[in-house]
């Protein structure tokens, strides 16, 4: 940290005030990010938050750091490119369930596979909130609150943790917006993890899915150490109810790009940097 005085969480909030609905779980993630930044003493000027489109993707504007409000579903692509070009920066990608698992679904699975050293926070409220409440890839199949799907979407929802594991993500955790301090702790660990860290946050949308206020009674906090065996994790992620929070899976594997591939790391152009040089 370069600031002479240790900053508090509120010092990492920008002057732009969130316009999310009162009760939105994204407020919790916003607070958690700033708490984690304060706890780690992260330098604002060397941190970038990148997002896609949607309610949750407004978040970079609310943090006093660099931010990039990108194209729908493309936050991960931008974030990875930035980290490869500037490995000295702390890069967080943010988005919602529609942005990350539908429009940006392909970027998500390849980000897991590629293992660039960034943190991805997916705020999952199981609905497209910004466009007023349509079913998303994580909406329960019998959710019939939208006139577009009056009998429910009728298809099984994605299991983001299982999808991330199958795609090669080495660090997988889950949080719940009713517990911002746990999310903050997980974000701090994710940022310090050397590789792609995926934090799935159950973030309630009480406006379009008021039934999500029941989550508080369902969520359980895992006390167990994270799994390191992919077979065991696969079995858990495929069969769980999705409401267990904590660091669920962690393994160590080589990040991308390999050491020496970028100019910024070695002070001289590597093969990757040279390939992009015009």
């Amino acid at each position: 940290m370069t600031d002479a005085i240790r900053l508090k969480a509120k010092d990492y909030k920008s002057e732009v005030k969130p316009i999310w609905c009162p009760g939105c779980g994204h407020f919790s993630v916003h607070n958690a990010i700033t708490k984690a930044m304060a706890a780690l003493g992260i330098d604002k000027d060397r941190t970038v938050l990148v997002s896609g489109i949607g309610c949750s993707s407004r978040l970079p504007a609310y943090v006093d750091s660099y931010g990039f409000h990108g194209v729908h579903g493309r936050g991960l692509a931008i974030a990875q490119g930035l980290k490869v070009a500037r490995p000295d920066l702390t890069v967080l990608a943010l988005g919602g369930d529609g942005d990350g698992f539908s429009i940006g679904g392909n970027h998500f699975i390849h980000a897991c596979r590629r293992n660039v050293d960034i943190t991805y926070i997916a705020m999952d409220n199981e609905v497209y909130g910004m466009t007023k409440g349509q079913a998303s890839p994580t909406t329960p199949m019998d959710w019939d609150h939208s006139k577009l799907t009056p009998h429910g979407p009728g298809v099984r929802p994605f299991k983001p943790a299982a999808l991330a594991l199958a795609s090669g993500a080495p660090w997988i955790a889950r949080g719940y917006s009713g517990n911002p301090n746990q999310i903050a702790k997980l974000i701090a660990e994710a940022v310090e993890f050397p590789g792609f860290s995926f934090l799935h946050v159950m973030s309630q949308c009480i406006t379009f899915c008021p039934e999500q206020t029941d989550w508080k009674a369902i969520v359980t906090e895992s006390e167990a150490p994270p799994l390191a065996d992919a077979d065991e994790a696969a079995k858990q992620f495929l069969h769980e109810d999705g409401f267990q929070t904590g660091l669920l899976y962690r393994e160590q594997r080589a990040t991308w790009p390999p050491p020496g591939a970028t100019a910024a790391e070695e002070g001289a152009p590597g093969k990757l940097a040279a390939a992009f040089r015009v």
Partner: protein, 173 residues
Amino acid sequence: MATTATDSALANFLAHSLELESEARERYGELAESMDAHHNRPVADFFRRMAAEAEHHLQEVAALAGHMTLPQLKAWEFDWPDAEPPETASYEALHYRMSLRQAMQLALANEHAAERYYREFANRTGDAGTAAVANRFADEESGHAAELERMIAALPASGLHLREEDDEPHMPE
């Protein structure tokens, strides 16, 4: 000078108290702003008043802490009975259409939670000096709760539920 058990217990208690009041102030301030954004002025004004109350109590605690060296804890290292500090309003209890009565009832529950926390801290600390301060804080929270109960009793009978003058969330045809 060596640190005594009393110093240590009191420092731990005051660190938690500062966090409790600071979080309450931040949350009420945040809720006021979000209610402003959604044009629910009566509730916004009430939450702003609660933020000011929390700020007032925060300053009292800070003055008491004076030049004591308090433990520097990360947000997740504090020991709370629930996920968040007792006086912090839960996000999921909010709604843009909430009535002033509902907002006051939420705040009342928070005051009771804070009182319970301070009282239980006093009962389990084992340090008489810390217990006295904790009981004093509990009495203050009890006073806030009584004031809120008076305010709720003075409200008109209507407004028990979500405000009807606000629109339902739009659902596409």
